[in-house]
Symmetry: C2
């Protein structure tokens, strides 16, 4: 109640632009912002950063850093609860397919960030910057987390981002076999690939395999895991990342 009263008083000080932003946030998030300045910051792209004192610029990058972490945790738990019988390798991989630049960028556009960014930044929108809306979405999540707390933010992410915009069945059906991806790539590029078991550490009961992936006999990436297969997948996944092979 106290908060709501404070909120109403704050609202009296809103100028036209503030009102527009608060309304847009309410549409996306589901309820009015309490601390509007956090959201204003979330839409301040680094290209429009403001120098508050010598050498200290403010932009949404810090909020993006925070929102990235919060989103990662909430998606981690979402999958943890949804798939009680799947192992952590599956969960990690599925998560990385939800929380990636391209996917977030698309969702950011779908929930209507472009219009707010445009209105907040005016002519300063760096159209050519590809991950703008994904970055802004993460910053928005950071702002929501600070403004409304963890559980509010979780509800927002689950019900307004994951459920409507991610087709989990489809994501899972195509969950990547990185080893076959990298082999496919090598055939196309006419490279030779081999996996080399470098070491097995640990006791009889628990082993850690270390596998090296070589491209044309040169070490390229390395993976570890409790089985040789897992270590190979890990090495292949890192190689795919380095080569920017999109799954």
């Amino acid at each position: 109640m106290k908060l709501l009263r404070l909120l109403r008083i704050q609202e009296l000080t809103y100028n036209k632009k503030d009102k527009r932003l608060a309304f847009a946030i309410k549409n996306i998030v589901g309820s009015k912002p309490l601390n509007l300045s956090l959201y204003r910051l979330a839409f301040r792209h680094v290209s429009a950063s403001k120098e508050i004192k010598a050498g200290v610029k403010i932009s949404n990058e810090r909020l993006e850093y925070l929102g990235d972490a919060v989103l990662g945790t909430i998606v981690a738990e979402y999958l943890f609860q949804k798939f009680p019988y799947r192992d952590e390798g599956f969960l990690t991989e599925t998560r990385s397919r939800i929380v990636n630049r391209e996917a977030l960028n698309q969702v950011g556009q779908k929930i209507g960030l472009p219009k707010i960014v445009e209105s907040e930044m005016g002519s300063k929108v760096p159209y050519s910057f590809k991950s703008l809306y994904g970055d802004t979405l993460e910053a928005l999540i950071g702002a929501i987390y600070l403004d409304r707390g963890y559980y509010f933010c979780r509800k927002f992410i689950n019900s307004r981002l994951i459920n409507p915009f991610f087709d989990l069945d489809n994501i899972i059906a195509t969950t990547t076999n990185f080893k076959s991806k990298i082999i496919e790539w090598a055939q196309k590029e006419n490279k030779e690939i081999d996996f080399n078991l470098k070491s097995v550490e640990g006791s009889q009961r628990f082993k850690e395999f270390k596998v090296e992936l070589n491209i044309n006999s040169e070490p390229f990436s390395e993976g570890k895991g409790a089985t040789k297969k897992k270590a190979e997948q890990e090495a292949a996944r890192i190689a795919c990342e380095k080569l920017q092979i999109i799954p």
Copy 2:
């Protein structure tokens, strides 16, 4: 109140081993566990995993996956609040120096995990597995999060892990300059290193630099950033990781 009553009823069903575990958890976490089975699972290392049905084994790995994410977020916010004027590059780097295998492993040992692991796993402790206590600590964080919620878990991490065990001033004083690290390494190893600006994308106002790090004229890693310096640091950081140069 209701929860506390339920807790007391649950306690009546504890056997001797349960009581010992509950007591040990209380010592570490600061209050009694509500759902003891979560903690039991947190201490079930993969080497002692139990097959609950064909092909489905349970161990603490899923909790470790969850705890890793939760810890990352809580440390991210801790640094965000503590350093209001530092940029996200600094925050990310400092976080990675707190949340890394070696540091977590040490903290896990200091808060007394070895004794619980030993008591829970008996002779099955995989002594030779280096990151055992760091992994277990992450699984424990996952269990605390599920058992007591986000804010309880945050208080536990801030007041019982970060504050007592991490000397932030020291961590920051030595925050790594990866570029100088990799140059140092190259001199020692007698390799040639150079940074090659590959592309600059974006508008006048916002640029994204892409830099490639070459070792003996072979591309080795790549970094992106809003300035050339940041992109070089990023490329150097990735190279350090790949070469396992510990900062």
